[in-house]
């Protein structure tokens, strides 16, 4: 057996809201090993890795690197000890070049003057050494997601780390980019690097990993050699039951036009085109999914529709009325509910109570109001009903939202938006990062509201399974435009979607058919 690189022993971590994220978790990684760390969202994978990288402290247990007990104080300390991390959301300076990003913090130069040439040279040397080709002088803003990931890898490698943590590295990649990444990871493995690979995609894990540790609710529920396991065994270890993927869905009864987007464009302050002349519609009773690699304009589209950003060109009609010249409150009153992808920034106020967070959308309406006063009694009743109907695990309506778990915070948001009386729900990443229980509750609600209450849903997600299982129609977005339109999802595969997302394939307008 090769040399041991990392050993984490009986790590226990409790967050300040009393949530036990890790309990007696142990993990060992050797040189030349790719170790999969699996578990559902909220199982404690990210917390464990944050502990390893010095971003979170822990209450019990110890960490050994090459057999030596260490206390990792912060990320700089972690890197110095040979641990590097590539986050799910890249930590790069968009306005700087690739080379500048790679040498950030270890800039070459004399007397405080940055030596750009040496930086470029260092980048090229490292790129060649590790077989990760990048263009040193390109701005990070302009490069693709796959290349950004290479930059992140180089950033860690150039600092001499021996253990790499990759947090869902393939989540933002197309299948083609993923294959390229795997070639590079195998190369690193053969050079004796240790890699911790966090993923939800079992086929990938089976393909590339040597060993696996599975977490469930903060505890290790299984560990072993990949060679001895198969996907089915892994998935039952992860969820504690067999996964049922297919959902029976009745065909939608398409009703009236609810959302109509006509020639919509959005250009940001620095002139970047995010949404480029889009036209589409969502009818009552149907779920229209939008797939796409993150950063291709999906978020901007949802934020223009809901009024958080102004349209540069074109128009959005909701229930027959234009949103032009209307503020967010007025747009909401046209019948729009919005589940924002950024749950803690837009979706809630963590320091305020469940009550405050549900009441927030009624402060300018006549509902629950008597003149300038809030009718607290009615609101109390309403909030209590929400807590019960949406199964929000909270002690009371006055509990600050920050004390709830991620899934329950999302339930508060969903409860508020679904009960608002809107007939268009714009759901952006509604289940990202939350437990399966809550996710399936949200999926059931989306289904119920479209079929029983004739609500129109625009579902934006980077989870292809979610889109394939819970949409009635599917649009693929790439570079601010639609690249594909599927009306029959039964014949669509992940692989095919990936090709459209990447732009390997692309439908003509005729092939897409009527997107209205």
């Amino acid at each position: 057996m090769s040399k041991e690189l990392l050993r984490m022993e009986n790590i226990t971590k409790i967050y300040s809201n009393g949530f036990m994220a890790n309990k007696d978790v142990s993990l060992t990684v050797h040189e030349g090993e790719i170790h999969a760390l699996l578990g559902e969202n909220g199982a404690g994978k990210t917390t464990l890795m944050k502990i390893l990288f010095g971003l979170e402290d822990y209450q019990e247990g110890r960490i050994l690197i090459r057999g030596e007990e260490v206390r990792i104080a912060n990320p700089l300390d972690a890197i110095a000890k040979g641990v590097g991390m590539v986050h799910q959301h890249f930590m790069l300076m968009e306005g700087l070049t690739v080379a500048e990003n790679i040498v950030l913090g270890i800039e070459p130069g004399k007397a405080g003057v940055f030596d750009k040439e040496t930086a470029v040279k260092m980048t090229l040397e490292a790129a060649e050494k590790y077989n990760l080709p990048v263009v040193p002088n390109a701005l990070v803003r302009d490069i693709s997601v796959g290349v950004k990931q290479k930059v992140e890898l180089l950033k860690a490698l150039i600092r001499g780390v021996r253990l790499l943590v990759l947090d869902e590295p393939t989540a933002v990649l197309t299948p083609q980019e993923t294959r390229e990444l795997f070639v590079q990871l195998r190369d690193l493995r053969s050079r004796g690097y240790g890699i911790i690979f966090i993923s939800h995609k079992l086929d990938e894990v089976m393909e590339i990993c040597d060993n696996v540790t599975v977490l469930r609710r903060g505890r290790v529920v299984g560990t072993g050699r990949i060679a001895d396991l198969d996907e089915k065994k892994l998935s039952s270890m992860i969820v504690g039951r067999e996964v049922v993927k297919t959902v029976d869905r009745e065909a939608p009864r398409r009703g009236d036009l609810v959302l109509e987007v006509r020639n919509l464009s959005y250009v940001d302050d620095i002139g970047k085109i995010h949404v480029n002349d889009l036209t589409f519609a969502v009818h009552a009773g149907e779920v229209v999914g939008i797939a796409g690699i993150e950063g291709n304009g999906q978020t901007e589209l949802s934020e223009v529709i809901t009024g958080l950003r102004p349209a540069t060109k074109g128009d959005v009609m909701i229930n027959g009325q234009s949103i032009k010249g209307r503020n967010i409150d007025q747009i909401r009153k046209l019948g729009v509910a919005h589940i924002s992808e950024d749950r803690l920034v837009y979706g809630c106020a963590p320091d305020l109570s469940v009550w405050d967070n549900i009441a927030s959308i009624y402060l300018s309406s006549k509902k629950f109001a008597r003149g300038p006063f809030l009718s607290k009694r009615e609101l109390n009743k309403f909030v209590d009903e929400c807590i019960e109907e949406f199964e929000i695990a909270t002690e009371s309506r006055n509990t600050p939202v920050r004390l709830l778990s991620g899934g329950n915070i999302q339930k508060v948001i969903v409860a508020r938006e679904f009960t608002s009386g809107a007939n268009l729900i714009v759901a952006n990443q509604p289940t990202r990062g939350i437990d399966v229980g809550t996710a399936s509750l949200i999926h059931k609600l989306l289904y119920k509201y479209t079929r029983e209450k004739n609500v129109a849903v625009l579902l934006i997600s980077s989870d292809l399974n979610e889109l394939l299982n819970h949409s009635d129609r599917l649009l693929v977005m790439r570079k601010g435009r639609f690249n594909a339109h599927f009306t029959d999802l039964s014949r669509v595969t992940d692989e095919l979607l990936g090709e459209y997302m990447l732009g390997v394939r692309s439908m003509t307008e005729e092939e897409m058919g009527n997107v209205l």
Partner: protein, 363 residues
């Protein structure tokens, strides 16, 4: 989660309470060290000085009354996430304009006392609200710092008030810079003998109730809290994230105006402010101690009034200067505002709670 929430609230309370106790203890120690006379006398004067006779207690109440109003006002500004200190300047400015009405017009002559006082307080509140719109506008419309501007404006208001005083209202028959005596039907009256405990207490009580209602039961109060807690969330919810803090600052200005009225027409026989009064800054401190909640304002205001009166008593009865005790203020802010104070112990308690829960679940 119930227990965690309780621990959370307990530590919130402990932080304020222990902060006050520690600040008090440190000050007592310093008083003992600094006193040249009898140490026991000094400590007694400091601890119970404000309560030994009616005059001193009146002095305490005289401070308490404007503190309540100013503190309530700051709850709104502070809850909206703004830091306008304009209240300080309003204390000087609103009463001098009211004095113009008092001495230069016939509007108030011959009216009954209660009506005059109502008009005067209302006038001061309106002036306060209007003055507060300046830093509010600068912040909400132009995106500049309301704190910096309000501090600068405080001095402008001080000198503007002094100019009005000298130009139009100065009583040439006395040696100090002041107006003539307020007419008998245009000032608050003392409730206990000739002490400073005056009828402005009714204004403070009414103001407090208004603040409670505004803060807890109205749409605007709820909007202000939401914007202050998370502006992006407020925007997303459809709340006008410019109007709400703007209105919060106007409400703060109105309360500052009312505080100015009870101070200027309650404690003094004539308008005689020639410097900033510090009531504005004290109001901020009251709001900080009360954790931005109007419900706790009277307690917080009383605590601060007590400390301030102790300082004065000590100053008069021993060799220890007022400024010496005022440093206690710094210590209080230090502890009460410091989020990290006690956070380790809080973490430990929560850790133990989670452990116990874990074991219960297992057995």
């Amino acid at each position: 989660m119930k227990k965690v929430q309780r621990v959370d609230m307990l530590f919130e309370f402990l932080r304020v309470f222990l902060g006050l106790i520690i600040a008090y203890a440190i000050t007592v120690v310093f008083v003992m060290i600094a006193s040249k006379g009898s140490m026991a006398d000094a400590v007694r004067n400091f601890a119970i000085g404000p309560f030994v006779n009616a005059r001193r207690f009146g002095q305490l109440m005289g401070k308490f009354i404007p503190y309540v109003l100013m503190g309530c006002g700051f709850c709104f500004i502070y809850s909206a996430g703004r830091f306008s200190l304009i209240g300080e300047g309003i204390v000087n400015f609103a009463p001098i304009i009211t004095c113009l009405v008092m001495f230069k017009t016939n509007l108030l002559v011959g009216l009954p006392l209660w009506l005059n006082l109502t008009i005067m307080v209302a006038l001061c509140a309106i002036i306060g609200a209007i003055v507060a719109t300046v830093p509010a506008f600068i912040r909400e419309k132009l995106g500049q710092s309301e704190m910096v501007l309000s501090i600068i404006m405080n001095f402008m208001l001080l000198f503007l008030s002094l100019w009005v005083l000298k130009q139009f209202l100065l009583d040439r028959s006395i040696s100090m810079q002041a107006t003539k005596m307020y007419p008998a039907n245009m000032k608050f009256y003392s409730l206990v003998g000739t002490t400073n405990f005056h009828s402005g207490i009714y204004v403070a009580a009414i103001g407090w109730v208004i603040a409670l209602i505004l803060y807890n039961y109205t749409k605007i109060g709820q909007k202000i809290k939401t914007v202050g807690a998370n502006p992006q969330f407020a925007l997303y919810s459809g709340i006008n994230a410019i109007a709400a803090p703007f209105i919060a600052q106007m409400i703060g200005g109105a309360f500052a105006g009312a505080a100015a009225a009870v101070d200027a027409f309650g404690l003094y026989p004539r308008y005689q402010y020639t410097a900033l009064t510090n009531i504005g800054f004290d109001g901020l401190l009251v709001a900080v101690i009360a954790r931005k909640k109007p419900a706790y304002i009277p307690i917080a205001a009383f605590v601060l009034a007590y400390i301030r009166t102790s300082a004065v008593v000590l100053n008069l009865s021993t060799n220890i200067p007022v400024e010496f005790v005022n440093m206690m203020q710094a210590i209080i802010i230090f502890f009460v505002a410091a989020e990290h104070f006690l956070s380790k112990s809080r973490q430990k308690v929560i850790f133990r709670l989670a452990r116990n829960k874990e074991q219960e679940a297992h057995s």
